[in-house]
Amino acid sequence: MSIKVLYFASLKDRVGRSGDELNIEAPLSVLEVWQRVNPNMNIPDTLLAAVNMEYVGLEAEVNDGDDVAFFPPVTGG
């Protein structure tokens, strides 16, 4: 089972990657996904998360085939 992780904007610069592929054995929370792909970086306070392009909280469940996105506050308009 695998999931795709995406980073945007300043967070992409900070982690130094635009994304990760993560193999998982069982569903994880969004927070656990972050901890698995960024074990040496605390999750930023202002970070926003989306699963399959919908905003979610860090407790939301991530399953096989899901896209998880992490990004800073939005600044459009």
């Binding site: 990004f71 939005v74 308009g77």
Partner: protein
């Protein structure tokens, strides 16, 4: 409803004229058009700004914009909505965003256009990266609340 992400310079007034000209079904029905046009400044937070890159999350940005417009359509009586947002490299004086709503009465037009714009600012996944006159490059950290005074 028409939502467009635009990688090139666009003229909001021409877009409005074209859209309204093609919307034959609205003719005679609308009494109010609420329009917001956002334009790139050459200054921000005390610094001169030379240019800006607008990043977005392809797919999610469109999805969130559509949801915001649908929410507005659910709350107010709207005949149609046009929303255009720039992406990519932009320069001062370029139009960044156009929100236009057509309705029978002004209350719906004013309130719905404001709702769409404020929700776009807080929910639609776009991010601005500025290049200052000094050459420094920085990400804009957050959008402020546009409601300065409550009526």
């Amino acid at each position: 409803m028409t939502i467009k992400l635009c990688a090139e310079i666009f003229d909001p007034w021409q877009e409005l004229a074209d859209f309204q000209g093609q919307a034959a079904g609205m003719a005679g029905k609308y009494g109010a058009t609420g329009i917001f046009v956002g334009t790139m400044r050459d200054f921000n937070q005390g610094d001169e700004v030379r240019g800006m890159h607008l990043e977005h999350y392809p797919g999610m940005t469109e999805k969130q914009l559509q949801r915001i417009v649908e929410q507005a359509q659910g709350q107010w009586q709207l005949l149609d909505v046009l929303l255009i947002h720039r992406i990519g490299q932009v320069s001062p004086n370029d139009t960044l965003v156009l929100v236009a709503v057509w309705s029978a009465h002004r209350g719906d037009a004013f309130d719905a256009s404001r709702f769409i714009m404020e929700n776009l600012k807080s929910q639609a996944p776009f991010w601005k990266r500025e290049t200052l006159e000094s050459g420094q490059i920085r990400w804009v950290k957050k959008n402020s609340n546009g409601y300065l005074k409550q009526p």
